[in-house]
């Protein structure tokens, strides 16, 4: 069953249209990847899903409910959670306060202790730095914190924009392993990735976005074999 569905969405900034009737659906318990060139509209699509920018046309459905016009915070409250591009940490707050902020939705509050333990296990570095101001951490550490904060929200659907950006390759592998565990525990996820090969390797289903439209979609294994995808995004 599709837990999150985007139907023929158009949107953009001011007068500039970026999305031209994009449709995409995420199956429950699956890991979906969204790839595409710089400027294709991936971040814009996620912003439209969250309501940071409003869809001009089309609709967004969560669990069979039209959530197109709900405010952003209401979506997070329902379990639709985005780890945004550029991290967007609370830079004046400590690492642990950022994590507590992640657990703001009511549905997350009862599980703060368990989730805190879980993310500290995933990212021991964050535990070491729990009292540090998040803005003073290294880029990679901040990226870990952004992901950890998203997990603290007890998401039903977790969307991560540019997971691997700025992280060392070893760490990216670790992180992918951790995400797999979350997936096995039943979490539905969407990864937006520059690292197309890796994204297709771990996801179940993939979408390729080009100029605000879905260019190709299919099971990730098939996409990885696809001639066009190989030449345009995998470099062979």
């Amino acid at each position: 069953m599709a837990i999150l569905e985007i139907r023929d969405v158009t949107s953009g900034y001011g007068e500039v249209q970026i999305l031209w009737g994009t449709s995409l659906s995420m199956e429950e318990g699956r890991l979906t990847s969204l790839v595409g060139a710089n400027g294709a509209g991936k971040t814009t699509l996620l912003r439209t899903v969250m309501g940071s920018i409003k869809p001009w046309q089309g609709s967004v459905w969560f669990n069979g409910q039209d959530i197109s016009h709900l405010p952003t915070h209401a979506k997070a409250e329902m379990g639709v959670v985005l780890v945004p591009e550029g991290r967007q940490l609370f830079t004046d707050m400590s690492v642990e306060e950022n994590l507590e902020m992640g657990a703001s939705p009511k549905r997350a509050r009862a599980h703060v202790a368990r989730n805190l333990e879980r993310v500290y296990e995933m990212f021991p570095r964050l535990k070491e730095r729990r009292a540090q101001k998040s803005g003073t951490m290294s880029g990679g550490e901040q990226q870990m914190l952004a992901v950890a904060r998203g997990i603290m929200a007890e998401p039903i659907v977790l969307m991560i924009d540019e997971l691997s950006l700025g992280l060392a390759p070893v760490l990216v592998l670790d992180l992918f392993q951790s995400l797999k565990k979350l997936k096995d525990a039943g979490l539905t996820m969407m990864l937006v990735e520059q690292n197309v090969q890796m994204a297709l390797a771990i996801s179940d289903y993939g979408y390729v976005l080009a100029q605000g439209r879905v260019e190709i979609d299919g099971p990730s294994r098939e996409l990885a074999e696809n001639e066009h995808v190989r030449s345009a995004y995998l470099g062979h």
């Binding site: 940071s52 405010p71 915070h73 997070a76 945004p84 707050m93 507590e100 992640g102």
Partner: protein
């Protein structure tokens, strides 16, 4: 020498109240980057609130402060939704104009209802003598209450969920929304708390000096000076700034006419803006 000591002590005590007033201004600036030009008239409303409850209903001025605080909080929330929310993302000029209109409305209505004649809250707790220095107890109480409220605000912002939300929205509103924080409500609450601090400061000033409906303007200007001294958006800085200003006001009249006080204050204001625009104690925003 004793005379100087009394003046410094007097000014210091008053400084706490100034700091409290300024905190109302800097909290709003720190959270939403809005300069609240209705700050002064709201301080006046606090003065009149205590005055009316005391003179009209015989309520103890310090008890009246509780009602004034609640009124200030609600008033701020209303002002936020009526005047500020719709222009919150617009350039600064729009929010300046919006809060300026609120100032005009309050001052206009206030002058019509109360006229501009002076009032005072005739309630003295006597005075306290320390060596040769005599300090009115009203001042000591006002300073103590201001300190208490500052500490309360600090703890509220650090230790409570909604306090943490206020800091989060101040830091990154978009991220706060993504975490499930209803940021519009949090902004309204912050505006409410800012005006609450202003009305309470006004109420305390009313227990110290006579005032008119226009008197808040003076304290608004002081709040700006303090905001610049302490760094806008920094509550602890506001308190320190208030103390500095209070002490200056205590000392200056001992060697030059008291009418020079505002002149000195504004020279200070301009100097700091030129030399150290982030405030003497640094602000978190530039």
């Amino acid at each position: 020498m004793d005379f100087l000591l009394t003046s410094i002590l007097d000014g210091l005590l008053l400084g706490f109240v100034y700091g409290l007033a300024a905190m109302g201004l800097t909290l709003i600036w720190g959270v939403m980057n809005v300069i609240n030009l209705s700050h002064g008239p709201i301080i006046s409303l606090g003065m009149f609130g205590v005055y009316l409850l005391f003179s009209g209903l015989g309520i103890n001025p310090y008890v009246a402060l509780i009602f004034v605080a609640i009124f200030g909080l609600l008033l701020g929330i209303v002002i936020y939704f009526v005047a500020v929310n719709r222009v919150i993302n617009a350039p600064h000029l729009s929010t300046l104009l919006a809060t300026f209109s609120v100032a005009m409305i309050i001052t206009g209505l206030g002058t019509a209802v109360f006229s501009a004649s002076p009032r005072n809250v005739d309630y003295s707790l006597g005075s306290f003598t320390l060596g040769s220095a005599t300090i009115p107890i009203n001042r000591i109480v006002a300073a103590a209450l201001s300190m208490l409220i500052t500490a309360g605000l600090y703890i509220y912002l650090r230790r409570t969920r909604s306090g943490r939300y206020i800091r989060a929205v101040a830091n990154n509103r978009n991220a706060a929304e993504l975490m499930g924080v209803p940021s519009v409500r949090i902004l309204a609450l912050s505006f409410g708390i800012g005006t609450m601090l202003a009305t309470v400061a006004g109420g305390l000033i009313a227990t110290l000096f006579p005032f008119t409906i226009l008197a808040g303007g003076t304290y608004e200007l002081k709040s700006f000076v303090i905001g610049v001294l302490g760094g806008l958006g920094n509550p602890v800085g506001a308190l320190l700034g208030g103390l500095i200003l209070g002490v200056l006001e205590g000392i200056i009249p001992t060697f030059m006419p008291a009418t020079w006080v505002p002149v000195i204050e504004f020279i200070l204001f301009v100097l700091i803006l030129m030399v150290r625009p982030q405030g003497l104690f640094g602000a978190k925003k530039s």
